[in-house]
């Protein structure tokens, strides 16, 4: 994304375009990444509910792969995940490993 110069800014830093946060990809902030293990997933959608961003994609009531463009690696989904018979469906892995 080309950064704007000071002459092209909205007065007072007011955001005039609704939903423009989607243009700002924050995935690069992550140092740990959540990894989804589908065989342990009971589709409770706790991860989708707890995610403070919109990094858990859901289609037709079922969760799909993470959207790593927005996941900052906070780990809340992994913490809340009940898993199946004691086996977590989301685990955190260090980035770059």
């Amino acid at each position: 994304m080309k950064l704007k110069g000071w002459k092209d800014l909205t007065p007072g830093a007011v955001l005039t375009k609704p939903g423009s946060a989607a243009e700002f990809k924050t995935g690069s902030w992550r140092s740990f990444k959540p990894v989804w293990i589908p065989e342990n997933c009971i589709q409770c959608l706790f991860c989708w509910m707890y995610c403070p961003d919109m990094a858990v994609k859901v289609k037709d009531g079922k969760r799909e792969e993470f959207d790593y463009d927005y996941c900052k690696g906070c780990g809340i989904c992994a913490l809340e995940c009940p898993g199946k018979k004691g086996n977590k469906a989301i685990v955190m892995e260090e980035e770059g490993k």
Binding site: K4, G5, W6, K7, P11, G12, A13, V14, L15, T16
Partner: protein, 396 residues
């Protein structure tokens, strides 16, 4: 539009500014009482109570809240006012930067008062000088008439579509706020027409066009926003002069970026803000009567500071004293540093000295101005400055 003769009244500075605010009839006023501003907002609250204005009066629990409520109301799309003094302005400090950074044209009379400690309620410029870098436009007023006229012009300057910045109208605590003077009011219709209808720029309450105020701006953009803010400030001078020219048409009273008094052919001069300029002008006259070419410059627009114009007005003098009613401990007074900066570009420039006077409401008397002018006569003769910064009217 022809010049209508105004109504001549005997009122205090606070009363005069409250009257200007009544005539403007803003949408919202959020205020907290503090001496010596209290009586201005009390009068305005009475106008609200008596149905003389349609203003929504918000009584808050502190000045930080007052400015916060003003910011919310102005972002919402309203014409907004408040007023404060001394420690009240200090408590607003954080929010002052939010108001200017969000480009909200709030108008705020500041009844200048000293800062604690020691606790003091009297006239002193430390409050507004402490806020000089907050991004607000500052208009300073010598007397009640100035304060009334500045308050009316402040709305036009703040709300100009090229500006959209908050404005402080400074007047000296007690000396002006509580002294009765003869002043001339404009009639309500004239003031209303002059101020015009308020036009919001990007109102938060325009639900058809949703916007967000106050986003987090990281190092990749913050500096661009600050650069843009400086650019807006550079346009203020022109707008202040345009508004003053229009105001002269309705009032017969002329205003500039600063006032000069017998300065054109002067050899020595005083630079002084607000009420003490009146006393100084009398003393300048008595020196002129004795054949001494004395003059005076009284800044009106202190932020943004008109360096070029001030430098041009002072460069021909031999010696100038800048008098500050605020101190920067261990440094020169805030007005002095601006005058020194204005004169720096000139190879030939006057010798400069700085006097700190009148702190915490200490009287500034004609003999103080005489003492300073006599010293300037000596400096003009010898070209030698003994002490650059001194306190006057203080016991040893």
């Amino acid at each position: 539009m022809g010049l209508k003769s105004g109504k001549i009244v005997a009122v205090t500075g606070n009363e005069a500014v409250a009257e200007a605010l009544r005539q403007i009839d803003p949408d919202v006023c959020a205020a907290y009482p503090i001496t010596p501003q209290t009586d201005m907002m009390q009068r305005f609250a009475a106008f609200v109570n008596d149905g003389m204005v349609k203003t929504e009066m918000v009584l808050v629990e502190s000045e930080h809240s007052a400015m916060s409520a003003c910011i919310g109301a102005a972002a919402g799309g309203g014409r907004v006012i408040t007023a404060t003094s001394g420690p009240g302005l200090a408590l607003m400090w954080e929010m002052l930067f939010v108001a200017s950074g969000l480009r909200l044209p709030i108008v705020m009379p500041v009844v200048n008062r000293a800062l604690s400690a020691p606790l003091n309620i009297h006239g002193d410029h430390s409050d507004a000088m402490g806020a000089r870098d907050s991004g607000w436009i500052q208009l300073w007023s010598e007397n009640a008439q100035d304060a009334y006229d500045n308050a009316i012009q402040a709305f036009r300057i703040a709300e100009h579509m090229d500006i959209r910045l908050p404005v402080m109208v400074c007047l000296d605590g007690f000396i002006i706020s509580h002294s009765i003077e003869r002043i001339e009011y404009l009639d309500d219709e004239t003031v209303k027409n002059f101020a015009g209808e308020y036009k919001p720029l990007i109102p938060l309450l325009d639900v058809e066009h949703p916007v967000s105020y106050g986003p987090l701006i990281l190092p990749d953009y913050y500096m661009e926003f600050k650069r843009a803010q400086h650019e807006v400030m550079s346009k203020v001078k022109g707008v202040v002069l345009d508004v003053a020219a229009e105001f002269e048409k309705i009032s017969g009273r002329g205003y500039g970026l600063f006032e000069t008094y017998r300065l054109e052919d002067a050899e020595i001069g005083l630079v002084i803000l607000n009420s003490a300029a009146g006393t100084s002008k009398d003393v300048v006259d008595s020196f002129r009567d004795r054949g001494i070419k004395a003059g005076l410059l009284r800044p009106r627009l202190f932020r943004p500071f008109p360096y070029g114009e001030v430098g041009e007005a002072l460069k021909h003098l031999k010696a100038v004293c800048v008098l500050d009613r605020a101190d920067s401990f261990g440094a020169y007074g805030p007005l002095f540093t601006e005058i020194a900066s204005s004169l720096y570009p000139y190879r030939e420039r006057p010798a400069l000295i700085n006097k700190i006077y009148g702190l915490g409401g200490r009287d500034y008397l004609p003999e103080h101005a005489e003492l300073v002018l006599n010293e300037l006569v000596e400096i003009a003769k010898t070209g030698k400055v003994k002490t650059f910064k001194e306190y006057i009217g203080v016991r040893e």
